[in-house]
Symmetry: C2
Subunit: 407 residues, 2 copies
């Protein structure tokens, strides 16, 4: 059996994701689709709107055959670490292909840019340094540097200022640098742009615009055209059970409590809190009356919004520099869900899977896994008091979700 | 002018306290009454039911002339440290008398017991050690030891198993050990016992029973017979403004969040977390669905309920062993409120007051004061989200309360 890997967050799973799953299978000709998915906290430094379990169910109902968790130490990270963790896991599971979305859907752009940048790495680093010194954030500086270098490539240069292309490029790079025997495929995103806040098509909308709509009203019926029926049902059930869609604002009083409780010195021990940022964060925590207000107070040109959000996630989960200092590669594969074909694949490949596959948390111990457990428990505090205990318990006790029908 | 000092918590100020203030003045013949009062967290390891400002106002309306704050580092402590901090402050303010409540109202008992125990200190320590080794908590062991030693005193021995007598004895000891020129007076408690949960008199009830009644219903009218009218008004205003009477249960989700966020090693750095207690605390935090449930899970014979509650306060305020390691004496006097006569007294004694008197937090810096500021901010999280910011801000900005009429 052959497998195509995809890297996802499904926040929530929508028609664009459905198209991606179908195209990944069709383009690769693989038998099954394996998704590596962020857990409770996402790459852009936000809580997922619903738990990893609800999102796993959406994925399985949407045609994914195996869902595994991208560990916290890779999930809430900038594109390069995020991508390398995800690619390592897909490689460990024996994926023959990785298929990602990009603006143009043309893999040649990635190949060409990668080859060219490989040869000009020193120059790239020099340009980045220069832009950082001018006060730009690292991602901005990098995107400017690459643009400057690749402008001399003949043909279409890869636009590395969009989130999808950046991530795609990092997947490509991780595969190549590790010499993994994985073929990379890309498909063009359908219509909606990543950051679109409004619906612009009849069936495809960005996750951002869908979330915005979900949070606006009591009923989520208005997002029906843009998501599979299974997603709608799962979202509705989640809301009925836990009385919440998780957003940063739900965690604000806990984050603020923690920030008013700690000293600058303690804050400086948290992962990614650098360069005196601790004083700025504590100062504004006292004044801000919402998470958005707080973010707008601490934001400077030097730090991207997403980087600051990731820092806030690390404060919320109490993730320290020391804890993150030795986490270079994923140490295990946490299985979240399988379809029947997914289970057949895992049985067939059993001996060739390169990392321990964990179905039951109590059967495995690793300090990397401790961070996942903690993050999932902290995620529960976004819910009203009456739902917290159930959400705290669920992650530790939950076996992988199994569905028996294939889409 | 002469001053009599009293040590109080006023949680809330009731008719028994009113009687104490009047008796202190009458018995001592002093011109004014100075109260040193715990701030947001109390000796028994609980949040005060209302802020220190509301309680200061109650005190002034009840006839106290000067209210100062017992710093956090002395307030949330066992009887001996609590008493020594309070006595030091009253001494620094030039008090000629200290008047405390006791079971019998007979100072001779305290004098006799102190003299006798002074001579038998070695024996006392030996007995204490013996009882602790048998698994008793330190306060229990101490009370047994003293009982054993003083049983040979001729006349009435001091009963050192009641909270009032224990504290009274510690005040006495602190004065004598420091050779402070302060005369000690004691008055008998009127009727209600410290721990009484039910009303047993027509005008005097314990603070415990009053709080219990306050929390039971929407209206606080039922406590009217037991408190001055001014207290009733202040409590009602507080509830109207902040929508809360603070209890441990209000802080439970924050405490739990923090306990699910930290590692055993980090917890062991918190003041008073000793002997592997960190593992026990973290284990049960995951399971408990209320503060009371949590407390009943972690309670053992070795630790008193109040000691465990104090530990919980230190976790909530993130007070570490390192921060508490050098705090042997109060470093300042935080002024919370004055009557006209109180202000006259302070003016008259200005040059003889032994510690800096702080009216404005921004004008003074000290690491002991940092703990007070933090504790007051953390206290705000017991209120609903909509009142938190106001309560966070108030303590730092609030000038001492001044009233102009004397009772």
């Amino acid at each position: 059996m052959k497998a195509v890997g995809i890297v996802v967050e499904y926040n929530p799973f929508h028609n664009g994701h459905l198209y991606h799953v179908q195209q990944a299978k069709e383009k690769s000709g693989a038998d099954i689709v394996i998704a590596v998915m962020s857990g409770p906290f996402l790459q852009r430094g936000e809580p997922a709107i619903v738990s990893k379990w609800a999102r796993t169910e959406m994925a399985l109902k949407g045609g994914v055959n195996i869902v595994v968790e991208l560990p916290y130490s890779f999930a809430t990270q900038h594109a390069s670490i995020f991508a390398s963790g995800a690619v390592d896991i897909l490689h460990s599971l024996g994926c023959d292909y990785i298929c990602f979305g990009s603006e143009s859907g043309n893999i040649q752009e990635f190949i060409q840019t990668f080859d060219y940048l490989q040869k000009n790495e020193a120059l790239e680093n020099e340009y980045i340094k220069q832009y950082v010194n001018e006060g730009y954030s690292y991602p901005k500086a990098k995107s400017f540097a690459i643009e400057q270098i690749t402008s001399t490539i003949s043909g279409q240069p890869l636009n590395l200022s969009t989130p999808n292309n950046i991530l795609g490029y990092e997947y490509y790079k991780a595969v190549k640098k590790n010499h993994y025997p994985i073929e990379l495929l890309t498909i063009a995103r359908k219509q909606a742009d990543y950051h679109d806040e409004y619906f612009s098509s009849e069936t495809i909308a960005s996750a951002t615009s869908i979330r915005k709509e979900m949070l606006k009203e009591d009923s989520i019926q208005s997002i029906e055209p843009f998501i599979p029926g299974s997603t709608l049902h799962i979202l509705q059930t989640y809301k009925d059970n836990y009385q919440v869609f998780h957003t940063w604002e739900n965690y604000w009083s806990y984050l603020k409590f923690r920030l008013l409780q700690l000293t600058p010195r303690e804050l400086a021990s948290i992962y990614e809190v650098e360069e005196g940022l601790e004083n700025r964060i504590i100062k504004y925590a006292k004044q801000a009356d919402s998470f958005h207000h707080f973010m707008s107070l601490i934001k400077t040109k030097r730090y991207t919004w997403t980087r600051l959000q990731r820092i806030c996630v690390h404060i919320l989960t109490n993730t320290t520099k020391v804890e993150m200092s030795n986490l270079t590669k994923p140490a295990y594969i946490r299985l979240l869900g399988t379809s029947k074909m997914g289970r057949t694949y895992l049985k067939e490949k059993k001996k060739n899977i390169l990392l321990p596959v964990i179905s039951k948390l109590s059967s495995y111990q690793h300090h990397q896994l401790d961070l996942d457990i903690r993050a999932s428990r902290i995620f529960a505090f976004g819910a009203p008091l009456s739902s917290q205990q159930e959400l705290i318990d669920i992650d530790y006790k939950m076996p992988p979700i199994m569905i028996d029908t294939e889409k």
